[in-house]
């Protein structure tokens, strides 16, 4: 028997956490903008990626460990996720 969804609305953010959140958003936006504008001067030539191509230099160098840890922390804490993929490495093909 399915339960009717309760109609309680979510709590609105308190003022301090709203301020916190917007500070973080500003910081992130700044970081991204600076990165993007500076990124054309950063980096290496395609043939200089020897160290970056190493398995240990991948952003998620051990996906199995990461999955096991994520499961533990998702079960025991209130936060989860955040990591992603893409970029770095050999840069080949």
């Amino acid at each position: 028997m399915k339960v009717n969804k309760t109609v309680f609305k979510t709590l609105s953010l308190t003022n301090s956490s709203k301020l916190n959140a917007s500070k973080v958003k500003l910081a992130l936006l700044t970081a991204i903008t600076l990165s993007l504008s500076a990124c054309s001067s950063l980096g290496v030539e395609p043939w200089e990626r020897d160290l970056l191509a190493k398995k240990e230099m991948a952003l998620t160098s051990n996906p199995i460990d990461a999955a096991l840890d994520d499961h533990i922390y998702f079960s025991k804490e209130a936060s989860s996720g955040g990591k992603s993929f893409g970029g770095g490495g050999c840069g080949c093909n």
Binding site: V3, L42, L51, E77, G89
Partner: protein
Amino acid sequence: MTNLNKTSKQANKTPNIKAALSLATGALLGTSILTAGAAQAEEVDEWQFDSAFLLYSEVDRVTATEAIIAGTKVFENDEILSLKLTVDALTGASANGAVAQPKAQTFTRPSGNGQYVTPAGETPLDDTFHDTRVQLNGQWTQPLSENITGSVGGHFSKEYDYLSLGVNGNLAYDFNKKNSTISMGLSYFQDTFTPEGGIPKPHSSMLVGDSSAPEWDTEFAKTRIGDSDDKSTADILVGFTQVINRRMITAFNYSYSMVDGYLTDPFKVVSVLNNDGLAQDYIYESRPDSRVKQSTFMQAKYNFDDSLLNTVADVSYRYMWDDWGINSHTIDTRFTVPVGATSYIEPHIRFYQQGAADFYQPYIIEEQAPIGFVSADYRIGEMTAVTVGAKYGVVLNDGNELSFRLEYYRQTPTNAGFAELSALKGQDIYPVVEALIAQVSYSF
């Protein structure tokens, strides 16, 4: 000239040859499946397998074992197929949300069949938890154009009382000679929960008595509002990666997650205490039916030179905030130190700190104003946690890799400003939770 020397399968796979391709794949909750290893001058890419066995064991509480086997195959045009099977089993006791008392306490099991007694002075733990879960993941990744990579995947998991189905998709665009990458991923999960004993009525009192009494079943049913309920989770993840120089790479992510449906823990109660701190009643907790979480994440990896043993340092920070009032900070660092040509040692330290949810209360005092959402689950309370550990890995003669990981995890819940009551003095209201994590992995 020289004879064409067909490479044999026994060619030594030295670590620097077995470099990963940049095409990592995975579902959004950070559970990436695998990065493909480059083949050793072989014409056909074979399946590569990674396997692991993990033991998670809390002192006097939960013990979990988890086994994973994952296979990856790279195809002719750099398409990658990853398949992963996970089996985990959980046994042992979990805190039921009630607070310790100077006298023994009796609770009813979630199923309604039977009671259990917590001795005086101890944190109430429910030991009826034992479950086995099977999970399957599949992920397909392929280049869509010279600088665009796409990926799609699916997730299925089933345990006695829980079913979860999920899909994910991701696009990544490389530019600046692949020094920069932006990516965006979406995922959607639909879960169904059919807990033993059904869904309890929020705020209703836990029925404690004799389960074998004739009127028990009817009375117990009055505290239930259904057999099962659903939950859906939608995530969006935006990422930016930048190669800084030959030795360093950085990543910045932002994620937005919406969870809707049944988010309450049907097995947890909240102690109702009188002004002296003595328990009068236990009521089932109640959480909102939606949660919006956001996080920002940044990571840097740096490959030091000889002077620092060619160590690879991995440092990351995540800040999470949600509409339940929870904020958290996570700092995670790892140092991979090569030892000789074929092994490494990797110390690891992680710091975690979270603030309590707005509706978290370790207990309710009888004459309080009528309550709305309430939960005494310490996992959404204020706490700090530390993980300290190390991993040792070695590449064997046949090129396969074996590794061992041992970690210590310690959670320290803290008082977010709740009044102390006289009967609770001397009781451990915020007990420390310690666990040992041990893992063996084998890649072949």
